[in-house]
Amino acid sequence: MAGAASLHARATIVQPRAIAEPKLVRWTLIGTTLAFLSLFLFVPLAAVFYEALRKGLSAYLHSFTDPAALAAIKLTLLAAGIAVPVNLVFGLAASWAIAKFQFRGKHLLITLIDLPFAVSPVVSGMIYVLLYGANGYLGPWLIAHNVQIIFALPGIVLATVFVTFPFVAREVIPLMQSQGTQEEQAAMTLGASGWQTFWRVTLPGVKWAMLYGVILSNARAMGEFGAVSVVSGHIRGKTNTMPLHVEILYNEYNFVAAFAVASLLALLALATLGLKTLVEWRSAVALAQAEANPVVQEKAS
């Protein structure tokens, strides 16, 4: 997807003038798009920072000295820090299985991976309450063994894992499928073991797609509100993630602090976008190199 976008961009530049749209049409389209983007994206984003800095930089920075805000930031990073690696391992394993092997129920597995995209986050939160809550199917057993899942960190991590489930697999599967199995077969015939094949042949091939998936799933993990809200219990300084803490601060009429934490989330998102662009660019370069110089690529592998 990433590569295709930049290829399109390049194609537009070399397009002959004869088939270009009239100037008026072009500028109307560009103008509409810009107006739309400003109203729905740029201005709101700027407003977040404006509101956050409304009472000056010191008030802004002071918002982050609140122990509850710090706890929320820590919890968000911790939840994302657990959920993303878990989904990375799962996503790679699933992609590997789906792209390189034939088995029964393969389509069912692909559908299942997409399920978190289709289910509303609130519902995914409720599922866990239904399962692990005190009155849930597993609740009595968990209580008897003194394990708290809902309204504690494990529940938050579970909900985050669930909603970020598909990202890595969705990015990696198409690439692995398009690459086919010839290179792996070649490696095998040359005497490589399964692990060696995976680490030296398969993984380098999908490295950029994987990274892209990781970035997307990290962005979603840190920003998730709905599912986490249901399982959090909203204990201040303990089970509030950043998005939940923003809502709480806003409801307490503490607008500067609310927007300060929101701006931090926005900054994390912008950093993610920057990283994403970098990855897209690197993968496009890698792709272009491979296409332009297949012989070199073969020698290298």
Binding site: K74, V86, I127, L130, G133, G136, L153, I235, K238, E252
Partner: protein
Amino acid sequence: MHRLRQPVTLMLLLLTLAACDRQSSTNSPLLPGSGPGAAALPGVKLLNVSYDPTRELYQDYNAAFAEYWKKQTGQEVHIEMSHGGAGKQARAVIDGLPADVVTLALAYDIDEIAARTRYIPADWQSRLPQRSAPYTSTIVFLVRKGNPRKIQDWDDLIRDDIQVITPNPQTSGGARWNYLAAWAFVLQRELGDLSKLADPACADQVSMAEAKAEAFVTELFRHVPVLDSGARGSTNTFVQRGLGDVLLAWENEAFLASNELGPDKFDIVAPPISMLAEPPVTLVDHWADEHGVREVADAYLAYLYSPQGQKIVAKHYYRPTSPQYADPEDMSRFPDLKRVTIDQITAGGGWPVAQKRHFSEGGIFERMYQP
């Protein structure tokens, strides 16, 4: 909840997914207590699960109690708070949120916890003075500065040009009080004396009055452009988004909004008649014993009734049950109005009757409210 269990097939699919998940996360060192900040706090911890508008009150009160407890016993106590719509909070406790004490908007919410779990005994309300309500409140109108729409009484709310903001009675405790206050207004106007509700000789008169009350609340909710799920959401709708001409609000919420967000922007109007709201508090025996904090949790609730506690309560615009302990200046802020109790308008039936009749599935609210 039982509605959710119907699509069993979907659940089974999700179960499979959840099973793979669980493996990976329960193996990690994630047990409660390893969360942020846990190690840094010695002494004892309490979890108070409360409703929406008590944030400022308990922030203040917790600090005062911690100081008091330290002085009394030398023990550090740290109180964790969870706030949200009262119904939602009760639901969370039922689903296992380990609250040591609950301080909710109405007795019905705690009744629900007692009925659906074994965490609280059924007779919880008689364990503390004043039916376990250390403070009371009422429902008032918050209007734009200068009261441009001239809203004085419940009647004015159903004038053609008026838009009313209130949360959803099915999710918000405060909204149930709002609704019942409107109901009480009509009954009082039609009957003159609420004791007729319990008098079999007046049955005809009562059923006529109730029909009028139902028509009135139906008309009232036609004037509501947006139903938020909790009291704070509605306040923000009225105050921040500028929607509506009048906000039906908890008295403390109305004071807080008008003082915090500009006394030059809003006025409080006290209708001649409203509800006597008694937000109750109680110990959640199961969790308090489990955590070994029964003693401090009991003291935490008892201190609400103490002179110091009552003073803090009044400062945060709740009406103390022992007004003599409050600062007279704080007391002078409360407008004078007739407050009727939930028992008065349900002929002694209280919340179970009100809940069933008005807010349950198939109740009056569900039948009459069409968005």
